[in-house]
Symmetry: C2
Subunit: 501 residues, 2 copies
Amino acid sequence: MQHKTETKTILQKENNFSEWYNEILKRAEILDIRYPVKGVYVWYPYGYKLRNLIYGILRSLLDKEHEEVLFPLLIPEKELMMEKEHVKGFEDEVFWVTRGGSTELDIPLALRPTSETAIYPVFKVWIRSHRDLPLRIYQIVNTFRYETKHTRPLIRLREITSFKEAHTAHASRADAEAQIKKAVALYKDFFDQLAIPYVITRRPDWDKFPGAEYSIAFDTLMPDGRTMQIATIHLLGESFARTFDIVYEDKDGAVKFVNQTCYGISERCVAAVISVHGDDHGLMLPPEVAPIQVVIVPIVFSSEGKSVEVEKACFVVYEELKKAGIRAFFDNSEERPGAKYYRWEMKGVPLRIEIGPRDLRNNRCEFVRRNDFKRMQVPLSDVVPEVERTLTGINDCIYERAKETFFANIYKNEGNNGAGKGKDKGEGAMEGLRRKGIVSLFLCESERCGKEIEERLGVNVLGEAVYEDGDEDEAEEREKSEGRCVICSKEGKRVYVARAY
Amino acid sequence: MQHKTETKTILQKENNFSEWYNEILKRAEILDIRYPVKGVYVWYPYGYKLRNLIYGILRSLLDKEHEEVLFPLLIPEKELMMEKEHVKGFEDEVFWVTRGGSTELDIPLALRPTSETAIYPVFKVWIRSHRDLPLRIYQIVNTFRYETKHTRPLIRLREITSFKEAHTAHASRADAEAQIKKAVALYKDFFDQLAIPYVITRRPDWDKFPGAEYSIAFDTLMPDGRTMQIATIHLLGESFARTFDIVYEDKDGAVKFVNQTCYGISERCVAAVISVHGDDHGLMLPPEVAPIQVVIVPIVFSSEGKSVEVEKACFVVYEELKKAGIRAFFDNSEERPGAKYYRWEMKGVPLRIEIGPRDLRNNRCEFVRRNDFKRMQVPLSDVVPEVERTLTGINDCIYERAKETFFANIYKNEGNNGAGKGKDKGEGAMEGLRRKGIVSLFLCESERCGKEIEERLGVNVLGEAVYEDGDEDEAEEREKSEGRCVICSKEGKRVYVARAY
């Protein structure tokens, strides 16, 4: 947007992630953080294009079995307060509208922190019969939290601009549980398409969604070794149905409560794409979500001036790529090639095509891959299929590298199975945590032991691993593995712990 | 969504538009009005699909020269209050957030009534040089007005869920004026695609956007004879630039204020599509924006039971249409054909295809057009091209009918040019107004005369017609036509007046 003077400072992702993150948001023009309200930010055009491409994938996955709707932002105090567990979880975080013009409102209106209490009174009138079930809807909306902690762009916000929340109602608990599995599969598909690795856990009971029976969460690993929750899925059971009186008549005329689930994803998915894949040169975007997939740069030396032939060749390539449905950009600005490289590397464009006079004489061009800067010469006649092949290859490399880093940073704490039984108290996990990562260890289900390990190690308990696939044998082994709680030595389960965002 | 018992009541659009409108929103499942906050409503899945298709057209028009962004909902009191004219126009209508959790906020935060004061402080930091201009952005967001008048779904809202606002900054007034012309052309294109007729006027000075130099508006005509403003375009000039100190350095190093425009469209465009085209059978959607363009209904009489052959033939047609990119739906539910006709006519599906056993024996199907219920027999082998041709034809008919109705309800008041000079005082316009429509008459530019005619006739002054095209001669004639203000007899211009929403 602005024509800035070029900045050549190399960023340092590994050494100072926090600074790297803020610099990237600015230099790649994702978010402008100079808005005069704490915890709310401005999406730049480039950032918003990235956001739209990512949410486009999410939408197309949801549209197969959900319908998009839109519910109001404002929730009356009474409705918000109806579900007791739920309100306890949110009451400290709610923004309240109390005035219209110069008039005090009779009833304060909450800005939705999430929409259960806006949607479920309407479910009550939408659902009559078993034929209305399952009901599966979603919306993508702004939601609000009065965060008192340190806010952070895309990650901890007062206005979450892009909260995708799905809400479903079913005839039975079995149907609702089946929906949980479908939601897990859908989110897996989504994050796989973003090349984001994750662990899936069942959150401890004392950390579940307020009002839920249980909560499933996806966490990824940030470059500073802290995990970030990127998706949650909740079995609500009948709790909200009983509060909001959502019933249906079954085939035999009996009136029953519906069984519900809800699941959400916020713009943290954008933060994950930026943080997991980026490097010291800037963003590194998976081709599927890159606003520009290929940038074409004419290579002309200042002594030669502009070359009409080179520009023409670039334009032909640009037109061919566009016709093939590839998001291409022809950078024929006045800047030096080096300045162009810097900008488009910063913006994470997966592939650069260079064409110079010598390339032209040989009817070829040069590909440069953003992920490893590898170069290859490609005949001009093969550009489209080669671009398609190369983009797929780049995506695979990005994903492989992300998974390698991720799984190399999961540490198993075994210290508690043998001699040190019950005495290790998790200190064996410290090595892993020192190296920044996720540690798996044994814990009983009590909140007391959970809180103690959190305090001792300065971590959060993510929960028991669930819905993992991959190697069957390994999964079976994990099933079998039993252990004793590192705190109280009672029977325990393997859980993940990590420092969490 | 709900399996309602079929209601056969014929709606009456002409006699009781207001009731018709509310019934349509419910029966066609556009909006659910049963939300417990005044002036805010719930978008049903079908309504939201219609909304998305309409906004898809708007987006694709804007994306040619604008970039989509997203600014925060919350505006600090200080920023909102900076532009004096602007705040005067909005202060009575602003919702205020004053509390977070149980904490009183230091600074009250406004829910944006429109985003000038959120965006322009950021323009100040985005714009440095003439190379940053023109800057053209838009966003589609929820905005809020504390309406004290009677609220009405899609038309007068406390939460406008789908406000498209564009904001541009230019190096000169000439550039800004050129942008106004482009915006007019863009909106013309948009409403033409929706088959919505309109008049374009320059609003009187005493009714322009607060803070603008002048405002251009599009108005359409509702079935009850009242006009509805469906788009506005404002030349802001330097007023906001001076308030928010938005300057740029020109080629010669001189620092100058930018020149601005802004223009907006809300979900009133959806209200217009519903109201202008619908009839006593329900919605009538232009094919371009119909969530379902073709519904396929198997015709089997109860004595015959289901026919596998007929179902198969329907499915083949469905698959062919889908492959051709047509939004088709195969209604193979258990209901009687009549119940299906009722539902899909209510939902405005432009074309119904019926296939029965006899059709099948003759390798044909039957088309039924929603707009005039005309039937035609079509060989099964020609379905795809015939559907495409027919949808285009339906669109043309819908548009023609809408334009006929619209222009038949614009009345010219000539009573003031001849003998009755200065004495008619607009009473000649009463005939037109009695027949529900728009009247064009002569007015001077004074607010006093404008207000007097408004009071006498119970109308609003829309303003002088501008940017009209069509018949060149007619336009010239209008140019030449001079007249004296129907109130004060001073020199006047032709303006439109009408009862307005």
